[in-house]
């Protein structure tokens, strides 16, 4: 009987629909794995304790996910997604810069070093625009501003936030859209499918009650989504795109610890968890 520790580790502090589905998919494939609660993780530097392990990073907090990946990689693990990919895709400015570096379409974006400079950045990007926190998800604190007076008030609130990072202001043009964006699930360089995400809130995050519906996965969607995931170095990604008024696709963001409950529910026949399990097994066998 094989008593060696499993090569596969699922790192997560919250076991939600997605983590449960991935673990069930690994079980179905007869793959041995351990669930490691990231809250209990500590890694001593200069050891090879995790050498040979493949770790799926499903930690819900960005900073914990990023540092856990860095520490595990330093101890010899191969982390999916890599620490570098989590760092890039978890920061909106770094993502925008990576997309532009790879020649991908993304909305006009500016970064201001102070809330005061944010007004100048907004004037250059133009109104209506969106002020977003650099780190964060589910549409939290994302604010649509339609004119300078409104922007000034929002930036006053931004200036009062306690974290120095909050005072770095990320602004982006608001791409006119009906009430929907597109989510493409990418695993191992392959686009699995696409959904429309439609909501009453202008922020079309499923966490804000947006509804997912199947979307045709055309060649341009495939090309952009796969290239966007590659631009941040993500093996597993949920790429969010939007169609502008002229029907041109532009990439909004790349999510490295993708939630896919709405996606699987919309499609029924696309097994994102299974694709992730297959990718992990392939990496463990490599």
């Amino acid at each position: 009987m094989d008593t060696s520790p499993p090569d596969l580790v699922v790192l997560a502090s919250r076991v939600r629909y997605e983590e449960k589905r991935i673990m069930a998919a690994l079980d179905r494939r007869g793959s041995r794995f351990t669930h490691l609660d990231s809250r209990s993780l500590s890694v001593t530097a200069a050891t090879d304790r995790y050498a040979g392990r493949v770790v799926l990073n499903r930690e819900v907090g960005h900073y914990r996910a990023w540092y856990a990946a860095e520490a595990l990689e330093a101890a010899g693990a191969r982390v999916v997604n890599t620490a570098a990919a989590t760092h890039l895709s978890g920061d909106k400015w770094l993502t925008s810069a990576a997309l532009l570096r790879h020649g991908l379409p993304t909305p006009r974006t500016a970064l201001a070093m102070t809330p005061e400079a944010g007004l100048k950045a907004l004037a250059e990007v133009g109104y209506p625009a969106v002020i977003k926190p650099l780190v964060g998800s589910w549409g939290r604190l994302v604010t649509r501003v339609t004119d300078e007076a409104m922007a000034g008030a929002v930036l006053e609130h931004v200036a009062a936030l306690p974290s120095p990072q909050s005072h770095i202001v990320y602004v982006q043009e608001l791409v006119p859209k009906a009430d929907r964006d597109i989510r493409v699930a990418v695993v191992g360089g392959r686009a699995l499918g696409a959904t429309w995400r439609r909501g009453e809130d202008w922020r079309t995050n499923v966490a804000r009650g947006a509804v997912s519906e199947p979307c045709h996965l055309g060649p341009e969607l495939v090309r952009l989504a796969v290239a966007a995931a590659a631009a941040v170095g993500a093996d597993i990604a949920g790429v969010d795109l939007i169609e502008d008024g002229d029907g041109r696709l532009t990439v909004l963001e790349v999510n490295d610890r993708v939630e896919f409950r709405g996606f699987e529910s919309a499609h029924g026949d696309i097994d994102v968890a299974g694709a992730i399990a297959d990718l992990l097994i392939t990496k463990a066998e490599a």
Binding site: S13, R14, V15, K20, D37, G61, G90, R140, N255, V258
Partner: protein
């Protein structure tokens, strides 16, 4: 169909919550009475605690 292991008590409202046999440690469930998010801290026997509050950097 999943089987019920046994009941656990919601730490917020004391309602009895039945935990399925496919439950996992660290899984987040919702109390059917008070709608609180709860974390399964033990499966056999099932023990529940209040789930951690959502932090600023949580997400995808």
């Amino acid at each position: 169909m999943q089987n019920v292991i046994s009941g656990a008590e919601c730490p917020e409202c004391m309602a009895e919550i039945y935990v399925g046999d496919d439950a996992l440690v660290s899984e987040i469930i919702e109390c059917t009475d008070c709608r609180s998010d709860l974390e399964i801290t033990s499966v056999r026997p099932p023990v529940l605690s209040t789930a951690p509050e959502v932090e600023e950097d949580w997400g995808e």
